[in-house]
């Protein structure tokens, strides 16, 4: 079925619908990863977003049920140049099209994704709708106006508390802001018992559990939309070691008195170089964020920066056991170069 992606600035792209067929609105972003579309689909950080892949051929190896980053597709719509209807891989279980249908998620193919990417690069992320037929400008404007991602964290966080790896040694209080399973897997691998809390957890609930470490996950949206979580972290600082990734990193930054800023079009992809300011080593990392931490207070030091644009990619408190990174050491998708950071996080427990 013919459909259009219409951007906030009026620019239109015509393509064909696949997956679920309905009209949707979301924030349009692009990711440059050449593999890992399945992890991208399920990554909760993309909640509320229309995600376009810059790589033109998507769905080549199908969908398997091992490489999921959450138990459902979290993004709003998936835009590709060409989807593959005859995937080939020994783990392939179903096609991308069928999977999106099952998940009720809209797909759009046949788009000049490079032209779209260039618009986003120049104008920054913007809202967009995917619609069929010929809706009027008013209808489109109403749809665009209706987009509200301010509660996106609460929409993706766990609905109830649960525990993983009950018998493990290190006890981690894990605040789920829309966490990728990959982070939980890495912690489990390292002998962590994980108590998973929702984003609106109160500090007392965590302190009651007497964990060894508080860990804040990645998640979608703007950290300023989660003031409750920031307050919780503020209350825990000084009492427990705190670590975090991506959104977790931004929340920690805010709790420490830093600021956050929105990037023009964010960092999304598996090829982002970051420099470890202590060793001078550069690593290729997986990233997916629109906001960054900035204006660090004097007791917080920058640990990593992005080699391309110099933005903050990691912080550490000068005296307290607090550290976090903006990128994804759990990869999935993306390079495995910085998996060692999980060990570094857990050193804070000692």
């Amino acid at each position: 079925m013919e459909a259009q992606l219409i951007l906030e600035n009026g620019k239109r792209f015509s393509g064909k619908l696949f997956g679920a067929k309905k009209n949707v609105v979301g924030e349009v972003v692009f990711t440059t990863g050449m593999t890992g579309y399945q992890e991208t689909l399920t990554d909760p950080s993309f909640a509320g977003q229309i995600v376009t892949m810059t790589f033109p051929l998507i769905g080549n190896y199908g969908i398997n049920f091992e490489d999921m980053e959450a138990d459902k597709v979290n993004l709003t719509a998936f835009v590709v140049r060409e989807k593959c209807d005859h995937p080939s891989n020994f783990r392939n279980e179903m096609t991308l099209d069928e999977f999106l249908k099952q998940q009720g998620v809209v797909g759009l193919e046949g788009i000049d994704t490079r032209a779209l990417t260039k618009i986003l690069r120049v104008s920054g992320c913007m809202k967009g709708v995917i619609v069929t037929g010929n809706p009027s400008d008013d209808e489109i404007n109403n749809m665009l106006k209706s987009l509200d991602n301010s509660d996106v964290i609460m929409r993706t966080t766990t609905k109830e508390r649960y525990t993983l790896n009950r018998k493990a040694k290190i006890h981690v209080a894990f605040i789920d802001l829309g966490a990728k399973d990959g982070i939980l897997r890495e912690l489990q691998k390292r002998d962590c018992r994980i108590s998973v809390f929702a984003a609106d957890v109160k500090p007392e609930e965590i302190l009651d559990q007497k964990p060894d470490l508080v860990f804040l996950s990645n998640g979608p949206g703007d950290p300023l939309d989660a003031p409750g979580t920031v307050d919780t972290v503020k209350a825990l600082i000084g009492k427990l070691p705190v670590c975090g990734i991506c959104m977790g990193h931004q929340i920690i930054g805010l709790a420490l008195g830093a600021k956050t800023k929105k990037l023009k079009f964010g960092h999304h992809g598996g090829n982002q170089p970051v420099k470890d300011l202590q060793t001078g080593n550069v690593y290729i990392t997986s990233q997916n964020h629109n906001y960054i931490v900035s204006d660090l207070p004097p007791d917080v030091i920058e640990t990593f920066i992005n080699v391309n644009d110099g933005t903050c990619e990691g912080i550490r408190h000068k005296t307290l056991p607090i550290q976090s990174v903006q990128f994804h050491p759990e990869a999935s998708p993306g390079p495995l170069d910085v998996g060692f950071l999980f060990d570094r996080f857990l050193e804070e427990v000692k």
Partner: protein
């Protein structure tokens, strides 16, 4: 770390002559390296024996030596130049091996030269099979069960243990030379014996075959700090079993899930970190399609063919970055030249699909065994970019210049389904078309995947093209509406392809496109999938709506490149294209290049102001012209590939700079050219086109034997023969007319005289001849295969005058503007003309370097309107040098089974070297050494076989050999003759006379050199052919022309050595 200030002078070793497995990619990497080092203010000393390269130009390095790549000469250069550093990985396997040897022999230590970039220890760890195995164990990397063997028996025993089939890989050889897959002990014994012989260290790796696994490559770069990135992944469409150089390759890898991709990426990085590579490195994996199991196949700790491909596929200049790393920089200190903002420490993201298809020489060598295996056979390759695999693949096949615009191929169409089924299991150059045909006939896809090991993903893509082709056949021109046509164009169909399928002309489709307003849109290759604003002027076509290649209003010229490297059209033409670009740039003109060869300097995105990486077909070229609206297009430098576009572009009213198509045609059309010669009173060997055997016999009696005969429809001397009598002529003609009744055969009087050649530059008024070249071998040997001498040594003054005169007349009469190449024969004191090429030729780089006349620069400026007088030149021959330079051809026939080895009218050489000396013999000596022909020593054993007609001519040579203590071995015929003239000869059996025969003697290594002057070549059943093949495969030096042997003897008598010959820096040529 920033640059290491203690590095002041670096020695760069090139890769020598172009051979199969080591082609133009090393000119690209070497040129980049020289520039990258020079721009840091570090002095560069360059050595390369190959004069056809851009890297050996005076302006590329500070000091340039075109000298043999042997330890002795390298030591002389080191001793004279005293570089403080050497960089190992830029000159392919040759550069690497030479550096290792200089190190091993203590020469680097002796002169305090340190190796920068990847260290010798690291190189050896990666290259030496035994330490590679240990390295894999240490880094926990799986490899196929394997063992290093140094003799045949232990090899057979090991194979028994792991089971057949087994793969044989000799250590330190390029392009898999001497390797192969053995299914049985007999096969193994044969391949192993050869492999052991060819390996520099007598080591061969035997490995259990993992044929059928996916073959995946990663290009990795690591700096001295330990930062490590992967530039690109590549996936072979042909699974493990076909050499990667002979495989169709796509980038990035297309069938791997992120988990598999990251697993291999991490493995590559772990390996590179473990051996502490400093620069580029290539890692090849085999991946089980049905599990996460993988095996590391090999690593190449240097820039390579794959790294050239990865550089062009991504826009990331691997050789340049490797050179910077060698100088001390870290990746995060080197700017990404494409974006100008980000740094080299990132991984390129690409948003298109790249396809590489090898170019094989089988169109020239139709007798060759075409089966592809672990030994590389391709002479070159093309790369194509599209935003779907289908579009990319279709662009690829039309870039190959094999007359294919669709997947439908006549030869495949003729085959039965049973034949096709058989053929797809044994890969050869036509497999893609056979596969398509099998699919077209509804053979089940899953089964094809099973019998070929190819991934279903790729087969489905081929099926998509086939289905679309079938659909297209049903269309008619009238019903072609905008949306339908756009859909086909977007899918990747060419106008010509559609026309063939629909039964109309390409022009019809083009007009329809024009009517409907369907034009390509060009997208940028920017290393980052659009994430950052890029400044790279590097484009490919799509049929999307948004065009990124905005034409400027500047004065601009398009230079058409020469496509893939093939026999007869090699790196020389890239040299010419690039120099034309340089000249135009100097003149302040915006330069645009169109080419599709990923191995070349011309397709480096910063060579020209704009690069279009596109097929060189009429449509693809014209699309660009139509958008860019250049002030002119230059065709003269792109070989036959560009010249053959002349008439079409002329018809489309495109301004062609230089000689006009009408005159190009006059030179290329035999009849028109004959008329012209008659008018100018210039002699050419008499000849005629004949249509029957009888007519041939009649004509032969008029012309007199010997006669040069050739089919009229082929170029480049293919199928050309010299017939000495009626019997031979009748046999040739019967065969020729049996094969093809529709075209005449050309017969010419054969003049066995001295061949001479000129490249000249004409501005319409004056004609400058930079130099005359004399061929060592008599006419009858293709000019590309003969040894060429400058300045001429044996040509009388009146002939020189005559050459000047004739060249002037022809150039003026043909209204040449720019380059012309003319070949002559001097026969019985008369000058005859045999060929005129109204374009730049393969000798241009050679003559430019030797004479220091900037030939291409002048020719380009003339095309832009300047005159020779403006530039201070006038009609005549440029001042001759006293220094003598001899160009010696280099062959790759050992890599091409069943291909004739002896010299003849068909060109067979893949590359060339130059010997430079103060006199002919010194230059000739160096030429032989550089070409890998060792000079026989006293006591050498020489196997001799001379045809009857040349036996008498051989006597003085035999005498000279005997005088130097050489011993002869011959079969009965030659032996009897030589004995009859008082020579001692050891007689050996012919092949038909039982065992041990001449082949056993060759294989045993008892023979140091073979002199075989055959009566005629190309007969695979003849004893001589078998003997020559055997010699080639055993790498025994062989000469097949008495003229060459004569020169060799003179060189021997001179007792030259590296000690008593001088090295010559290019600027010292006088």
């Amino acid at each position: 770390m920033p640059i290491d200030k203690s590095i002041k002078k670096v020695l760069v070793i090139g890769s020598g002559p172009i051979v199969i497995g080591q082609a133009a990619e090393f000119d690209y990497s070497g040129t980049q390296a020289c520039q990258a080092i020079k721009e840091e203010g570090v002095e560069v000393v360059l050595v390369n024996s190959n004069p056809a390269t851009i890297m050996t130009d005076r302006q590329m390095a500070d000091k340039t030596y075109i000298e043999p790549l042997t330890i002795e000469y390298l030591e002389k250069i080191i001793k004279k130049e005293r570089p403080d550093s050497i960089i190992a990985g830029m000159g392919g396997q040759t550069g690497l091996n030479m550096t290792c040897e200089l190190y091993d022999r203590g020469i680097l230590d002796k002169y305090n030269v340190r190796v920068i970039g990847t260290s010798i220890e690291s190189i050896k760890e990666g290259e030496d099979r035994d330490s590679f195995k240990k390295l894999m164990e240490r880094t926990n990397q799986p490899i196929a069960p394997s063992e290093i063997v140094t003799d045949v028996d232990s090899g057979l025993a090991f194979a028994q243990e792991i089971g057949y089939p087994v793969i044989v890989r000799p250590a330190y050889t390029l392009g898999g030379t001497g390797g192969g897959i053995a299914e049985t002990p007999d096969e193994l014994a044969e391949i192993l014996a050869q492999g052991l012989h060819l390996s520099r260290v007598g080591q061969v790796l035997l490995e259990k075959s993992i044929k059928g696994w996916k073959e995946i490559e990663f290009e990795v770069i690591r700096d001295g700090h330990g930062n490590c990135i992967t530039v690109c992944s590549m996936e072979n469409i042909d699974p493990v079993g076909v050499h990667t150089g002979d495989s169709i390759v796509v980038a990035p890898a297309l069938t791997l899930a992120d988990k598999e991709y990251q697993m291999l990426r991490k493995a590559a990085i772990d390996i590179i970190n473990s051996i502490e590579i400093k620069g580029g490195c290539n890692v090849q994996f085999a991946l089980d399609p049905n599990s996460f199991n993988y095996a590391v196949i090999e690593i190449n700790p240097r820039v390579s063919r794959s790294s050239a491909l990865a550089s062009k596929a991504t826009g990331y200049p691997i050789a340049k970055i490797s050179a910077k790393i060698a100088l001390g920089y870290d990746l995060d200190e080197i700017l990404n030249a494409v974006t100008g903002k980000t740094y080299a420490c990132f991984e390129p993201a690409i948003d298109y699909v790249v396809t590489k298809i090898p170019k094989w020489p089988f169109d020239k060598f139709f007798t060759a065994k075409r089966n592809l295996g672990t030994k590389m056979m391709a002479t070159g390759e093309i790369m194509s970019i599209g935003n779907s695999l289908e579009a990319s693949l279709l662009k690829g096949i039309r870039s190959l210049e094999i007359g294919q615009f669709t997947l439908e191929r006549e030869s495949s169409k003729k085959r039965s389904i049973i034949e096709l089924r058989k053929r797809v299991c044994v890969p050869d150059d036509e497999r893609l078309f056979d596969l398509a045909e099998l699919i077209r006939r509804n053979y089940r896809l899953e089964k094809i995947a099973e019998i070929t090991g190819m991934d279903m993903f790729f087969l489905v893509k081929i099926k998509n093209i086939v289905d679309k082709e079938e659909e297209c056949k049903k269309l008619s021109l009238d019903e072609l509406d905008h949306d339908t046509l756009k859909e086909y164009k977007k899918f990747g169909f060419s106008d010509k392809g559609m026309a063939q399928l629909m039964g109309c002309s390409a022009e019809d489709i083009y007009n329809k496109r024009k009517e409907l307003g369907i034009y390509p849109a060009y997208k940028m290759v920017d290393t980052c999938a659009g994430e950052f604003e890029a400044v790279s002027p590097y484009y490919y076509s799509t049929y999307d709506d948004e065009n990124e290649a905005e034409p400027s209003k500047n004065k601009k010229v398009i230079v058409i490149g020469s496509g893939p490297i093939r026999i007869g059209q090699g790196i020389e033409f890239d040299y010419c294209s690039v120099h034309s670009i340089f000249a135009l740039k100097k003149a302040g003109v915006e330069t645009i290049i169109i080419n599709n060869n990923p191995e070349t300097v011309s397709t480096d995105f910063d060579t020209s102001d704009k690069l279009y990486f596109e097929p060189l077909t009429e449509e693809d070229v014209y699309n660009i012209i139509e958008m860019e609206k250049p002030d002119g297009v230059i065709l003269q430098f792109g070989g036959q590939t560009a010249i053959k576009l002349a008439n079409f572009l002329d018809k489309m009213n495109v301004p062609i700079l230089g000689t006009q198509p009408k005159y190009i045609d006059e030179a290329e059309d035999r009849e028109k050219f004959d008329d012209l010669l008659e008018k100018l009173d210039i002699k050419r060997p008499k000849g005629k086109a004949i249509w029957t055997v009888e007519e041939g016999i009649e004509e032969a009696n008029v012309l007199e034997y010997p006669l040069l005969v050739r089919p009229s429809y082929v170029l480049g001397g293919q199928g050309m023969e010299i017939t000495h009598n009626e019997e031979e002529l009748v046999r040739y003609l019967s065969e020729a007319f049996h094969k093809d009744k529709k075209n005449p055969v050309l017969i010419d009087r054969y003049l066995g005289g001295r061949e001479l050649e000129v490249d000249a530059i004409c501005d319409g008024t004056d004609v400058l001849i930079p130099g005359i070249m004399e061929h060592l071998e008599k006419a009858g040997v293709h000019s590309g295969d003969s040894i060429s001498i400058y300045p001429p040594q044996n040509v009388p003054e009146h002939i020189i005058e005559k050459i000047k005169d004739v060249t002037y007349k022809i150039a003026i009469e043909l209204k040449v503007v720019g380059m012309i190449n003319i070949q002559f024969i001097e026969f019985k004191n008369e000058l005859y003309i045999i060929e005129v090429n109204p374009r730049s030729s393969r000798t241009v780089p050679y003559i430019t370097k030797v004479t220091n006349v900037p030939v291409i620069d002048i020719a380009t400026r003339i095309m832009m309107g300047e005159t020779l007088k403006d530039m201070g030149y006038s009609t005549g021959i440029a001042k001759q040098t006293r220094t003598v330079a001899v160009k010696v051809p280099v062959f790759s026939t050992e890599k091409l089974p069943q291909v004739e080895v002896s010299l003849g009218p068909e060109m067979r050489s893949t590359g060339e070297v130059l010997g430079v000396g103060s006199n002919f013999l010194e230059a000739m000596y160096k030429g032989f050494i550089a070409a890998g022909t060792p000079i026989p020593k006293e006591g050498s054993r020489i196997l001799v076989s001379v045809r009857d007609s040349d036996k008498d001519n051989f006597l003085p040579i035999a005498k000279a050999f005997a005088g130097m203590g050489c011993k002869f071995i011959s079969t009965a015929g030659t032996a009897k003759y030589l004995e009859g003239h008082g020579f001692k000869v050891e007689v050996c059996k012919k092949i038909s006379e039982g065992i041990p025969n001449v082949l056993d003697i060759i294989r045993s290594g008892m023979v140091d050199m073979i002199i075989d002057i055959p009566k005629k070549g190309n007969d695979a059943n003849s004893e001589g052919f078998k003997m020559r093949r055997c010699a080639a495969e055993c790498s025994i030096p062989m000469m097949t022309s008495l003229d060459t042997v004569g020169a060799l003897v003179k060189v021997m008598e001179e007792k030259l050595s590296p000690e008593n010959t001088e090295i010559v820096e290019l600027n010292e040529i006088k």
